[in-house]
Structure formats: structure tokens, C-alpha cells
């Protein structure tokens, strides 16, 4: 719901908001520039003295105005010709033209009405409303994503577009709420929806009928400081009934031109004070610094618009369209989907279609949209949950467990949990299990036991579907073919072979970059943009199930590189290690934002063994900014499977690699990478104290050994691998 409130105003009003914010940011510069350029009055200068000086210079003066910037403008008539100038309060002499700045005027008209009069004003007010809705809904989304208001500035993970979007938003949102709310107030005031609140000007009935009092003899002008002045209007020459009109920050008064007496005075009303404060907050006139800050924040909006569209496109790509999705309040069956890359959405779509076909009213939503009271007619809730990493919630299930735990009582509709995972991981379907356990702890009845789907198996899914059909008393046939991402054909350029002597035949395979279309390049889709640590899915001949490998190169390297060890009887590894230059494979790209070194200058501790070196070597190769990288690499024998061994000296010379520590497991003394870590314990502790980030890639046993060794090394410092993991400073890519 909140997401929709964020997405649609954003997409629909994007162009309008971009014009609003860019013109607003440009306008924000003027008050500050005016403040700097205008000659300022010395402290304590009175209006009487200023008016006297100006009158001496321009005897026909009829109005003096002071802008909030301190700029003083005088208007006069000289032999029936109107004149005007910005004056220097020290001399009363004109120093600059009083004509409005044409650029500022043009920008102002664009900003408030698109040059379209009242229709344009209404359009821009719609833009401001969209901005306000976006700010408020976005605020709630950020709080939800970060896990609560207390974590407003918590570090972010995930794809770049999403991080940028939130990074800008959580700073700019304060200014955007202020600017859009004040804009709406001002529009309402312009269209007379708000009372003007101004006191009617007091009529200056009883004038003395005399003229010609000297300005310095007028006590009110002598008591009023220029700093408080807004406007002083002179009486018409020759009209004895006319008066001086003085406007200050406090109110408006009329002064007799014969006696100088104050004939009447009316204070600014509270309402006028409010209106003026709002005007100041919006325009920065009288608050130039605030104006600049607001302008800067407004500049973030086009950036957020761009990244927002990218996020939306990525979400659409990853998520199949669900046709005929019922409203949550009307559906009998609720599907809650916890998906990371979008494949679980594919299963949900198949289930949705099959149930709808069978005459059910079905509502599908991400698990993060779960509420306790939105499902008035629901009879059952089916959770389809993938798992992220070591049992974490996938992207679309953020906050689900917290919300479930905090529920007063369990929902009435019965629950079924379907987990998606890969049995080769120890945390197989761990998140789905956690959901099931939390539901049981809440006393939420389950109408079907927890069931798991291994590696997107269509057979598992169909079996579960038949069981569900039995419970519902319908014939449910779930035929789901996982939709594979768009694949490309990659041609091998070269291969380097290692490890045959130690019974670990391994190859570094380098493929040519497939040609990207312009549209792919613009969107950064497929192989048009990738970094080391991302994954490549290889479709071996004879199997529809892709095998994932970590990339050892980034797009800017100009090639696609992976490290593959041939497993006895392995279908994909067998085919890959048999490739000769010119041969091709079918592959697709999958991003892996969880395994990236990230920005920053903090040291990197890279730990890998065997083919796990692949992405780590890619990070080293791309380390042109000379971040201190300490690489721990485990191999069997330096003369046989020292992957990238011939590149290491050059990388060290070029400053890409600060230190290389190797461990050799075959030889006089068995030495594993975790042993190498223990040998460098003092150095490792020092680096981690300096904020180092640890990245581990390789087999499961090695990763477990490394975690144990690190726990041991860090024990005296009070740090643990788990604590580092929670901070995002310890990441693993294991297989």
C-alpha cells in the first residue's frame, strides 16, 4: 500500500517534480547572491537618516523599500519621469538598477506556473502534492527498510540504485517536506483558500493639513531602525491630505506630513506573521542560508527520480505480472511472497493463476506488506518464502518476522508455509522454517505442514500443489517452469589450466563480452554492467537447470572470466573445462550485491581457497584506487594449482595488492588458509581494528574453518565474526 503510494505519484509526477526541483534549486541561489551583493546598512541606522540621505540624492523620492536581504530600493519621480535604483544606505546614492532580474523572473514563472497562468499554478501544486506524498510515503518505507526509526541512518546494503535512492532521500526528505508543504500553503493563499488575515488599513482621517516636516524631525522614523524597515511611502507632492505610510516588521502606520505625528498604527496580525514565515521558509528571502540548503536538497530529487525509475524497472523485471490480483480485503486466499531475485514470484504467479482458475479469490503480495487486519475475508494465508544468505529474510520479506512476533494475536485465517531453497546449503529454507516456528509460537494454526522446494524443482512444487488441492477439495495442477533470465551466448577467448598434477584440474576461462544493445547498455541490463563477485548462470547442454559461478572480472576489464574446477561426473564443469577457444556457452548474468567490496578506503581481507580465488582476484585486478588488500589464498601445490600465481607479482608491484599470504596443503607440512590466518593473527587483529572488511570465498568446509579461526583470533579483542557480519564487515560466498 505505502509502496504504491510511493511508486505511482513518483512515476506520474516525475517530469513535473523534476522541473519544480531544478527551477527551485536554481532560484535558491538568488536570495544568497542578493544578500552578498546588496550594500548593507550599518547597525543602528534609522529610517529617518536613510530617508533623508535618499531624499537629498533624489528629491522626488516617493517610495523606499527594503528587501529581507537588506537590499534597499528607492523609487522617485524626476520631472515627471519615473526612476528607481538600488541605493547604498551609507550615501543614499543609487548603485544598481532596480529592475527585476530577468533570469530570476523567468525561473520564478516557470517554477510556480510553467508560464501557464492559473492552470500552470494548479499543475505545479499537484506536483508539490505528489512531492509531499512521496516524502511521507518514502519516509515510512525507509523506516521499514532500516528496521525502525532508530535506524534511520543505518548503513545500507543492496544494489547501487536502491542505496543511492535511500541515501539521498534520508537527508533530503526534511527539506522536501518543508518546501512542498510551504508551496501548498502559498498556492492555497494565492487562490484565496486561506484568509488573508491582514488588518484593514486604518484610515488616516485627521491630517493636520500642513506639509513640509523634515524627515529627521519625525519621531517614528527616528525610532525605527533600517533593519526593521519594509517600506516607506511618501505623500504625493501637493496633496496636503496625503500621509507618509511606514511598513515595518511589526506593522503599518501613517504619519502626518505636516507635524510628523503618528496618525495611526496597526500591528501585523498573528496570521500575517505565519504567512510571512512560510513565505520566508519557501523562498529563502530573509533566510538565504536555509534557502541554499533547501535548494541543495531539491537537487537530490532528479537523482532520486532516476534511481527510483531504475528500482521500479528492476522490480518489474524480477517479478512476473500477476493478472487479476484481488484486493486484500476481498480475497479468500492470501499469497505472501518472500523473494530475493524474483524466482519465488514466478512460483507465486503460477499458484495464483491455478487457484484463480479453480474459482478462488486470490490476493498476492510481498511478505513485507503483511498486516494483521487487512484480510477481512481470508480463509487461508500461504507464505512462499525463499531464504537470503544464512537464513535471513529475502528482500521482499523485510520486517515480516518482527511484525508477526509483535502481533497481539495470530490471524484467524490458517497458514501454510512453502519454503524455497537449495539443499546443498546448511541454511536450507532456514527463513521459511523460522516463519513456521514463529507462527507456531504465536498459536497461528497451520492447515498444511511446512513443505520445501529444492532448487526450484517443478516436481516438488507440483507435488505440494496436489496436496494443497486435496485440502481445498479442488483439482490443482501446478505446472511451473522457472522463467530463466534472458540468456546470451559467450565465446571462449582463452583458457589457462592448473592443478592436473594434484588431481584438481582447474581452468581459468575467459570469454568475450557479448555485444550489448543500446537499450541494454542504458539500463545496465545483462552483461552490459557487472562487477567481480556477480554470478554467471551457465546452462549446460542436457539440463535446464543453470549452474552458478562467481565472476572473476568486471565489465570494464572487457571480458567475462570464471574459474572452474572439473568435478568427476559433473555435467556443467565437464563441459566448461572441455571448451576450446571459439567454443560457446549459453549463460545469463545474476547480480550478487551481497558480495561486493563496496566503496571506501578501509582495508580488505580477502580469504579464499581453490576456485574461490576467482572473485577475489577480480577485486584485486579492479583495485585501481590502491585500497590496502590482504589476500589469503589456500592451494594444494604452488607449482600446480597456484591460480593467478603468474599475475600476483605484477598486482603487488602496481599497488593493487598490499600483501599475499599463501597456504599449501600438500607438502611436508599441511597448511590451510585458516592456519595462515592464525599465523598472521596480530596483523589480522590490527586490520580489523582499522575497520577492515573480511570477504571469504570458497568451499563450505574452508569457510567454516576460517570462521572458527577468526573467532579464535578475535576472542581477546571482544569482537566476533557474528558481530562483524551484523555490521556487514564479514561476508561469505560459499558453495
Amino acid at each position: 500500500m505505502i509502496r504504491a503510494l510511493h511508486r505511482w505519484p513518483g512515476l506520474l509526477a516525475l517530469a513535473l517534480i523534476t522541473v519544480l526541483t531544478l527551477s527551485g534549486a536554481a532560484l535558491s541561489v538568488f536570495p544568497a547572491a542578493e544578500r552578498l551583493a546588496a550594500p548593507q546598512a550599518v547597525t543602528g541606522l534609522t529610517v529617518a537618516v536613510l530617508a533623508e540621505r535618499i531624499q537629498a540624492a533624489y528629491p522626488g523620492v516617493e517610495q523606499i523599500r527594503r528587501a529581507p536581504s537588506g537590499r534597499i530600493t528607492a523609487y522617485w519621480f524626476d520631472q515627471d519621469a519615473p526612476g528607481g535604483a538600488v541605493v547604498d544606505p551609507a550615501t543614499g546614492q543609487g548603485v544598481a538598477s532596480a529592475d527585476p532580474n530577468q533570469t530570476q523572473r523567468w525561473l520564478t514563472n516557470l517554477h510556480r506556473s510553467l508560464f501557464l497562468g492559473d492552470g500552470g499554478r494548479i499543475a505545479m501544486a499537484v506536483g508539490a502534492t505528489a512531492m509531499l506524498i512521496l516524502s511521507l510515503s518514502g519516509t515510512m518505507l525507509v523506516a521499514r527498510r532500516a528496521g525502525g526509526w532508530r535506524h534511520w541512518f543505518a548503513p545500507l546494503r543492496g544494489p547501487l540504485a536502491g542505496r543511492l535512492h535511500v541515501e539521498i532521500a534520508r537527508i533530503a526528505v526534511f527539506g522536501l517536506v518543508l518546501s512542498s508543504a510551504t508551496a501548498l500553503w502559498m498556492t492555497a493563499s494565492t487562490f484565496d483558500f486561506l484568509p488573508s488575515g491582514g488588518a484593514a488599513p486604518a484610515s488616516a482621517a485627521e491630517v493636520s493639513g500642513e506639509t513640509g516636516v523634515a524627515l529627521v524631525m519625525m519621531p517614528t522614523l527616528g525610532d525605527t531602525l533600517v533593519a526593521d524597515l519594509r517600506e516607506l511611502s511618501f505623500p504625493y507632492p501637493g496633496d496636503a491630505t496625503d500621509v507618509f505610510t511606514l511598513k515595518t516588521d511589526r506593522g503599518t502606520g501613517h504619519l502626518d506630513q505636516g507635524t510628523g505625528a503618528l496618525l495611526s498604527w496597526s500591528d501585523l496580525t498573528g496570521w500575517e506573521h505565519v504567512s510571512e514565515t512560510i513565505y520566508m521558509l519557501h523562498t529563502g528571502q530573509g533566510a538565504a542560508t536555509l534557502g541554499l540548503v533547501l535548494g541543495l536538497m531539491a537537487l537530490g530529487v532528479p537523482m532520486m527520480g532516476g534511481t527510483g525509475v531504475l528500482i521500479w524497472l528492476a522490480g518489474r523485471r524480477g517479478r512476473p505480472r500477476i493478472r487479476g490480483n484481488e484486493a486484500a480485503g476481498r480475497a479468500e486466499t492470501i499469497l505472501l511472497v518472500g523473494s530475493e531475485g524474483g524466482s519465488t514470484w514466478g512460483f507465486a504467479a503460477t499458484l495464483h493463476a491455478a487457484l484463480t482458475e479453480a474459482g478462488q479469490m486470490v490476493h498476492a503480495a510481498p511478505m513485507s506488506a503483511f498486516t494483521s487486519d487487512g484480510y477481512a475475508r481470508a480463509r487461508r494465508i500461504i507464505v512462499l518464502a525463499a531464504t537470503y544468505g544464512d537464513g535471513d529474510a529475502p528482500a521482499s520479506a523485510n520486517g515480516f518476522l518482527d511484525r508477526l512476533t509483535n502481533l497481539g494475536r495470530a490471524p484467524v485465517a490458517a497458514l501454510a508455509v512453502l519454503g524455497f531453497g537449495d539443499r546443498s546449503f546448511p541454511a536450507y529454507c532456514a527463513f521459511a522454517k523460522a516463519v513456521s516456528e514463529a507462527a507456531r509460537a504465536k498459536g497461528w494454526p497451520e492447515f498444511m505442514p511446512l513443505y520445501t522446494i529444492d532448487r526450484q524443482s517443478p516436481q516438488d512444487f507440483a507435488r505440494w500443489g496436489r496436496a494443497l488441492g486435496d485440502v481445498l477439495g479442488i483439482d490443482l495442477d501446478l505446472a511451473h517452469q522457472p522463467v530463466l533470465p534472458k540468456t546470451e551466448t559467450l565465446a571462449l577467448i582463452s583458457r589457462r589450466d592448473y592443478g592436473a598434477e594434484v588431481q584438481a584440474p582447474t581452468a581459468i576461462l575467459r570469454f568475450a563480452l557479448p555485444k550489448a544493445t543500446l537499450w541494454q547498455r542504458l539500463r545496465g541490463a545483462g552483461f552490459a554492467r557487472f562487477t567481480a563477485g556477480d554470478l554467471i548462470g551457465i546452462l549446460p547442454e542436457g539440463s535446464p537447470v543453470p549452474r552458478l559461478y562467481s565472476l572473476a572480472s568486471a565489465h570494464r576489464d572487457g571480458f567475462v572470466e570464471i574459474v572452474v574446477k572439473r568435478h568427476p561426473g559433473g555435467l556443467a564443469s565437464g563441459q566448461l573445462t572441455a571448451l576450446e577457444p571459439g567454443d560457446t556457452v549459453t549463460a545469463f548474468l545474476r547480480r550478487n550485491p551481497g558480495f561486493q567490496p563496496g566503496q571506501g578506503r578501509a582495508p580488505l581481507i580477502l580469504i579464499g581457497a581453490g576456485t574461490g580465488i576467482g572473485p577475489l582476484a577480480g577485486f584485486v585486478r579492479g583495485n585501481t584506487r590502491h585500497r590496502p588488500i590482504h589476500l589469503f589464498f589456500g592451494m594444494r601445490h604452488p607449482h600446480s594449482d597456484f591460480l593467478y600465481g603468474e599475475k600476483m607479482p605484477a598486482w603487488q608491484d602496481e599497488g593493487h595488492l598490499a600483501r599475499l599470504v599463501t597456504a599449501v596443503s600438500r607438502g611436508e607440512r599441511q597448511h590451510y588458509v585458516q592456519d595462515a590466518l592464525r599465523g598472521e593473527a596480530a596483523e589480522v587483529v590490527r586490520l580489523i581494528r582499522d575497520g577492515a572488511r573480511v570477504m571469504v570465498c570458497g568451499g563450505r568446509d574452508m569457510a567454516a574453518g576460517v570462521a572458527d579461526a577468526l573467532a579464535e583470533i578475535l576472542a581477546p579483542t571482544g569482537l566476533t565474526p557474528a558481530a562483524l557480519k551484523a555490521e556487514g564487515r564479514y561476508v561469505e560466498d560459499v558453495y
Binding site: Y75, D99, P201, S233, T245
Partner: protein, 156 residues
């Protein structure tokens, strides 16, 4: 070129005792190229003593800006009821405002003065931009304003 008809505009504001005759009068106001946004113009009539009698036209629809038409504002207390139904768009630089309305015969040659107040955003206010006595002899005679009005004339 704007042509507007406000036939009954003055029936309430300027009803004088014993007057039944009225005739259509066209007021033509042409602005010079002062280099700013559209001007707000208030056209109104005062009697021989300078007392406000009534408004003929208000060019400019946002009442929050009326205070810049200083004389008109002071005379009316900013009362928008004075221009209810006789309000139109503001007039751009170099453009002409032409309005036709029925004015009572008795207003002519009786000491009444027609005033135009003008104001432009971020530029000087110009109350009493134009002040012309309403006389039959003055019909068709163009006069210039002080700052924004290049020429003003009334025709019958």
C-alpha cells in the same frame, strides 16, 4: 486586444439619485513595455472632493496582491466586493485592456475623476498612475500614465 463588457457594473456602486440615463463607454488602457510580469490595474472613480465613488474594473484576480494598488486599497479597505463581477486577468507589458461599460450621463462634467492604480510584481507600485477628469470634452483624448500606462482614453 481584450474586449470586455460589463454592462451593469456600476449600477450598485454608482447609483446617483434621479439618474436614469446611461450610455456605453469604452475605456482603452495600453501598457508600455516595462519589462515585467503582467500588471494589476484598478480603474475607479472619485468625486470632486476626492472621495471614492466606485470601481469600474479590476485587472488581476489574486486579491492578495490588491494591497499594492495602494490608493484603491486604502479607499476601499481592500474590499473585494467592490470588484465582484468586474474582475479580469492582469495585463501584460505592451498589451491593451479594452472594456466597455454603461456609465451614467450624470458622471460627466460633474467633477468626477477616473483613476487607474497599477502594480507589477517586484517593481514599483504606481498608485494614481492615471487620473483624468470625466468630461465630454475629454472623450477620445489619450493621456499617458506615470510609469506603466502608455496611453489611456475613454470613448463613447
Amino acid at each position: 486586444m481584450k474586449s470586455l463588457l460589463a454592462a451593469l457594473a456600476l449600477t450598485t456602486a454608482l447609483t446617483l439619485p434621479g439618474i436614469a440615463m446611461a450610455r456605453p463607454v469604452t475605456l482603452t488602457t495600453t501598457l508600455n513595455n516595462y519589462g515585467g510580469d503582467g500588471a494589476y490595474l484598478a480603474l475607479y472613480v472619485t468625486d470632486a472632493s476626492g472621495a471614492y465613488m466606485g470601481s469600474l474594473w479590476m485587472a488581476g484576480t489574486k486579491s492578495k496582491y490588491y494591497e499594492h494598488l495602494t490608493d484603491w486599497y486604502r479607499a476601499t479597505g481592500g474590499d473585494t466586493a467592490q470588484v465582484n463581477g468586474i474582475t479580469g486577468a492582469s495585463v501584460g507589458a505592451g498589451r491593451t485592456l479594452e472594456i466597455t461599460l454603461d456609465l451614467a450621463d450624470a458622471l460627466f462634467d460633474a467633477g468626477y475623476t477616473l483613476h487607474v492604480d497599477a502594480a507589477v510584481e517586484d517593481m514599483r507600485d504606481s498608485p494614481n498612475e492615471v487620473a483624468v477628469p470625466l468630461t465630454t470634452a475629454g472623450v477620445g483624448t489619450a493621456v499617458a500614465g506615470r510609469r506603466y500606462v502608455a496611453s489611456f482614453a475613454y470613448d463613447m
